[in-house]
Subunit: 324 residues, 2 copies
């Protein structure tokens, strides 16, 4: 008789840290364990296998009780082949058959997923999106990443390059993005570019206030500086921040017109801004949204923080192997 | 023993005509039969039932061989309840439980789908999108409608109001749309608004050429007039048309960034423009598309014409009842 599988393992692989968790069939997770990522590809695979084995041992879980392991990794990935195509921040990983190596090491089925998608799936099953049918997650940080879940399934696209909402055009003939397009959302609403715009306006247009003082003193400006200045009531900081929030609201309206999700969930470093993020975003969203139907899509901040990726990777393994 | 189901029926309900077809399990369709839509809700239901019965009789198909019937209808609809909420162009249909009435009349399972989605599904299973995994259809006419298919399933959204790509914002603070938003794609690239813009530029800015002559003579301008003037090399017509194509290309780039589909398929009256539509659209699309990956999504014109809705409605029935 087949043994009932009670758990899946999740690994969130990153350039700095690798995180591990166990998720039971009720989508309740273990403590997330974090290790400093090993130095080369062979050690990394070994670390993933050992990290999982230790987590199982700590929780008294046997290999035969585990349906499989999910690995979230920065991309680009070949999901069909289970390989890492290139990781700009981690040398020596290119072409590594990480899925099969980890699966063989643990003697269980393994699946590979983009790290942003894994984090979105984590929020969907255990976090801010629990209970949603359709959900879009935007990760607001250095860039803008996204994960899209429709009726419980992650959207990948026909060539594995879908769900790049950070590169939706929100301003025709707008600012040049590194991707080759103009006017991408990321170029208007990411932490990097909001800070860059403030700096440009100070240096080129002589704008002043709290931010000019921070720049003069420290030689740099971050989105965190801007949020702090907004909190202190600085008019220039509010103007720069509000512009980023307005473009983000346009993207949220477009997400509603296209996906009509239950929720848009915001994750990443910029969500530390809390109400300084949500208040102007929701205000612009309400005023830009069509009037044919009332606003039904909620905009919320993610709740799992840095653990979303490991939990989501285990969730992806459940969706792949849960019926085994 | 259960009888193997060999067919599904499809009904494309419209304000002017109602179309019927039979689709076998290999997705090969019968001739599409068209009737002038009856006058009131009771007659319309009766006409749907009789139309299906006649089509079965003509093709020698027994009720026991039919897995179910799909009905494509203009909306808004309540898909869960199988009812028509309102049909601005057909009085007396509001709240009609069309799905169950037709299903009961034919003694078979019935399913209801939005007409634009049914047409998209038709192109997906038997038309220009056959073989695609993910496909987006844009209907370019009076307005811009859309149908989105991801891994074989139509996207509806959590509240049934998704797939409205005609109301994607392509110009922040752009022209006022009837939906309450500003800068909607429909306001820049639909037949109605391209013609309206030409007229405005002639009347307000004194622009001239072939279109000014057509307007002076007939008192009106249509997108067809503009395409004809483009074909005749009229510079003003080219300028107006090209602007619409460029905004449409921005929408297509956004569709790629979000969905990464195999194909974007164009349907509706504007596709009569043929290469005058495809050439500038593909040119703008290539130049606006990111440079991170080569263009993989194809842009094509639909092939089923006015029959897509009836065929697609039968296809939706297959996907709902095919495993019965």
């Amino acid at each position: 008789m087949a043994i009932k599988k009670k758990y899946c393992l999740g690994i969130d692989f990153g350039g700095t840290n690798t995180k591990f968790c166990l998720l039971d069939s009720r989508m309740e997770g273990s403590e997330v364990v974090q290790l400093r990522t090993a130095g080369n590809s062979k050690e990394i695979v070994q670390q993933m296998v050992c990290g999982c084995q230790e987590l199982m041992a700590e929780n008294g879980v046997k290999v035969r009780e585990v349906a499989g392991v999910g690995i979230g990794s920065p991309g680009p990935l070949d999901l069909d082949e289970g390989t890492i195509l290139a990781t700009p921040n981690i040398p020596g990983m290119d072409g590594l058959a990480i899925r099969d190596l980890v699966g063989q090491g643990l003697s269980m089925p393994a699946t590979l997923e983009n790290d942003a998608n894994a984090a979105a799936y984590g929020e969907y099953i255990c976090g801010a999106g629990a209970g949603a049918k359709d959900m879009v997650l935007l990760t607001l940080g250095t860039g803008i990443g996204s994960g899209i879940i429709i009726e419980g399934k992650l959207l990948h696209g026909s060539h594995g390059i879908g769900a790049e909402i950070g590169h939706m055009c929100v301003e025709p003939d707008g600012e040049q993005c590194g991707c080759g397009q103009k006017g991408c959302l990321e170029r208007y609403s990411s932490a990097t570019y909001i800070a860059e715009r403030a700096r440009e306006l100070i240096e080129d247009k002589g704008r002043n206030g709290l931010l000019a003082a921070v720049l003069a003193q420290s030689g740099r400006l971050t989105a965190k500086d801007i949020v702090e200045a907004v909190g202190a009531g600085d008019a220039f900081a509010e103007e720069v921040w509000d512009r980023g929030m307005r473009y983000l609201a346009i993207a949220c309206v477009n997400i509603c017109r296209i996906f009509d999700p239950d929720q848009i969930i915001l994750a990443g470093g910029m969500t530390n801004a809390g109400r300084h993020l949500l208040d102007p975003l929701r205000r612009h969203f309400s005023s830009l949204h069509w009037s044919i139907t009332e606003v039904k899509t909620r905009i919320d901040i993610a709740t799992l923080g840095d653990n979303a990726g490991a939990i989501g990777a285990a969730g992806v393994a459940w969706s792949a192997f849960g019926s085994l």
